[in-house]
């Protein structure tokens, strides 16, 4: 077949056709994958919440509260048999060593930390990235940010450690100021 010549109508028609066909292919792919992706995102959030708070029987992710003065923070109340047993706070901090650290902090009804998980971070592998390790995170459990937190920072990763500690304290303050655990 001879090559199509570069006349204006030819170029116009061909580019339009290619764009239309591509758009149709993309639309079809999106239609198939979108429900799967939405479900995955939901599962991940439920998973993250249930890792840090005491056992609950409500749907914390459906009851999420966004404090008006802290729109980047989300609160997930956890209830069992209608009674408040705790809350998870999703919070991010820019005080780390490499970009944003996103945390999920769980609090029990007595105001102590029940769990901490690092959702996302870009700290230095082997140093700051150790904030994700059990040994560092488990120190928070049982301590109340209302008193002073007693945490051993990670050697050679003071900035990362401090960022997490400050974020946990801030999470508690925000939770308190929006009415605490209820």
């Amino acid at each position: 077949m001879k090559k199509l010549e570069s006349t204006l109508p030819n170029m116009f028609i061909v580019l339009t056709l290619i764009a239309l066909i591509s758009a149709a292919a993309l639309g079809a792919t999106y239609g198939v994958t979108e429900p799967i992706l939405a479900e995955q995102a939901r599962q991940r959030r439920i998973q993250a919440v249930s890792e840090v708070v005491p056992a609950f029987d409500n749907q914390p992710t459906d009851e999420a509260i966004t404090p008006p003065d802290n729109p980047s923070v989300q609160l997930f109340p956890a209830r069992r048999a209608g009674e408040a047993v705790g809350a998870a706070v999703q919070i991010s901090t820019g005080a780390g060593y490499g970009g944003t650290i996103e945390l999920m902090v769980g609090f029990g009804s007595d105001g102590t930390v029940t769990g901490l998980s690092v959702l996302r971070h870009q700290e230095t592998p082997g140093l700051g990235a150790r904030i994700t390790q059990e040994g560092f995170r488990s120190q928070f459990v049982g301590q109340a940010p209302a008193d002073e937190l007693q945490i051993d920072g990670i050697t050679a990763a003071t900035i990362s450690s401090q960022a997490v500690i400050a974020a946990v304290e801030r999470a508690w303050q925000i939770l308190e100021s929006t009415g605490g655990i209820r």
Partner: protein, 201 residues
């Protein structure tokens, strides 16, 4: 086209014209994602899928595309393939997609893809273009996996996530950080150049 040249088109991507070690194309994903062997393999295979798809489509429609608008036409086709792969991976291979995240959309601007479209697929038959895409893609995947394996072995003391005795407890951290990518790639290119010289290439 005889099968001998088809074989040649297929194998050239591995050493003779390896996109990473010889052509030095696609350095951004090469340096960025190869902190472990599995990441390198995943990125390499995703690129292969895009390369194969775009080469085939471009070889089929090459006569319908007027010369003056061929580059925008190629880019639209490539970008569509990348987005389809991106969404499909996110839906069906979420852990790998999380690791490669940022780099999948960057396949669009990976010079290898447009380079093969322009230099090969727009001038050759469907079969030859498919073989070229597959060979170049797998050559890219091979290079990324090798680089990832070396960096993971030295920097994390593991290979494909399996710990290696001694090194696992005393890893050479710099190799999984960005400077390590440059160092490891530099040595690999030196090795490949020596091999090619010996082979008289």
């Amino acid at each position: 086209m005889s099968s001998v040249t088809l074989t040649r088109e297929f194998t050239k991507g591995f050493l003779r014209e390896n996109p990473v070690f010889v052509l030095l194309l696609g350095m951004c994903p090469t340096l960025g994602v190869t902190s472990s062997a599995i990441n390198g393999l995943g990125m390499g295979l995703a690129t292969t899928a895009v390369l194969l798809g775009s080469n085939i489509v471009i070889a089929v429609v090459k006569d319908l595309i007027p010369d003056k608008v061929r580059i925008p036409a190629f880019i639209v086709i490539i970008a569509s393939f990348v987005t389809i792969i991106d969404l499909t991976m996110a839906a069906f291979l979420p852990p790998l997609h999380e690791q490669l995240g940022l780099f999948i959309p960057l396949i669009v601007v990976n010079c290898i893809i447009l380079g093969r479209a322009e230099a090969f697929a727009s001038r050759n038959t469907l079969v030859a273009s498919a073989v070229d895409g597959l060979g170049m893609g797998l050559g890219f995947a091979f290079a990324l996996t090798l680089l990832g394996a070396i960096r993971e072995f030295l920097g994390a003391g593991a290979i494909f996530g399996l710990p290696v005795p001694f090194l696992f407890d005393n890893p050479i951290l710099i190799f999984i950080m960005p400077p390590g990518a440059f160092i490891a790639l530099g040595f690999l290119i030196a090795v490949v150049n020596t091999l090619r010289e010996k082979a008289g290439a």
